[in-house]
Symmetry: C2
Subunit: 283 residues, 2 copies
Amino acid sequence: MKLATVRHGGRTTAALVVAGGYQPLPARNLSELLSLPQWKEILKDASSGHCGPDALPASAIELLNPVPNPTKVICCGLNYADHILEMGRELPEYPTLFAKFADTLTDPEAQIPADESMDLDWEAELAVVLGSTLQDATEDEAAAAIAGYTVANDISMRDWQRRTLQWFQGKSFDRTTPLGPVLVTADELDPVAGLEVICTLNGEEVQRGNTKTLVFSAARLLSYISTFTILRPGDVILTGTPGGVGMGMVPPRFLQDGDELLTEIPGIGTLKNRISLRVAATA
Amino acid sequence: MKLATVRHGGRTTAALVVAGGYQPLPARNLSELLSLPQWKEILKDASSGHCGPDALPASAIELLNPVPNPTKVICCGLNYADHILEMGRELPEYPTLFAKFADTLTDPEAQIPADESMDLDWEAELAVVLGSTLQDATEDEAAAAIAGYTVANDISMRDWQRRTLQWFQGKSFDRTTPLGPVLVTADELDPVAGLEVICTLNGEEVQRGNTKTLVFSAARLLSYISTFTILRPGDVILTGTPGGVGMGMVPPRFLQDGDELLTEIPGIGTLKNRISLRVAATA
């Protein structure tokens, strides 16, 4: 199943993607839906029904960040084996983790605001969304707790990221990590078997990786994280980006005002984000 | 004014510390109180009254983490000039920042749980609590948005912190950062003029610093952070720790099962935490 959070008129709703459009579900967004203990039953009932007259046509809705209210957004860096090996590094023993906030996330077709002075870079990623609570979990338990997968672009301010040893401040600008366009339930996709992760800048492909080369699988990441902090329904884990970021180019290439960034995982969908740079720097 | 979140019987309440004990305020905790637009008026009314018969005696309450529900907990590393200079380093141009979660926080007299295998270390810190929303703020605006100050100990798992370049995973174990015992309103303390920050381990003083040597003052940290992410009432900023942590000793000294850690800022109060280590490691 494909799920979405959509705006229709002045309100938002969680929705099931059906042939005729978007079938509303009884929650304002997928964060709220996934926090209901009976969310799987709700989906089963909704999907077994036929497309009723209340499905919203695609033309009447706007796709939003599917999970706007995670209590935690945790990201893994340096996770694509092919990219790590091509850089001449050894595969890591532990995942490199850092945090973002719910405020860092934005809609799948949102403009990305920043200052012209900043070195904005792209990072196409597979994102995992939790469907149940997880604590000290095995990999099997973690796999069973995955509600589904979506697409993210961990757009990073490289100059801020490199101001200190800790990446956090370059990764946490409000409304700079688009997420969506839909959440595909875990039964329909297997990142271990392989999902392509593709980033295109103004029509030119800049990243293409495959999740089968992840050093730390989604389930392993969740299991590892759950040993130190509880994960809850609607929480979001970003699994890292493959090679091809602008920082790694010679010379480095950063995003410019008006650039169009497409982030695609076939089987899930495509984020379409335009970069919008202000002239005056604030810091 | 000194404010607290206390447990009394089966429920919790925000409270004003008065001569007779703890005067309940109309909110379940200080996170909830600070999110009320009229929280300053509520405090003014409560403090102008005399100690009524409804003040709870100290013997009837338990002090809790004053702000249990921050949307953001952001920490600054490497911020005490005397410690940085004694280590032979240059003063930093930018603050080193990383994030914790609300789940990382715990009560001012809580036991600190961990596995025996971990290298637990202490970091006594002044914590700042926001009283209003802050975005792209000047230092003056940031200073005006501070609700008050409290004490924190950013207890860190050094082995996990050093597994990768990013400190996050060693800093985000659930219920390992005690906060409290009270929140002292900003009009009563001036960290720029100087507050002592003291850590005592089993009766032996291991850290003593003064906030007048902070490279980045509380207001400057808030102003800087607010350029990239919005801060909200109840959010918590940890301002860094002075010299004297166990990792810096020769040989390094880490916390043992049963150790008693006192973290004190005169004028605010003292955290009293016992370390409780489990024998079996989970990771």
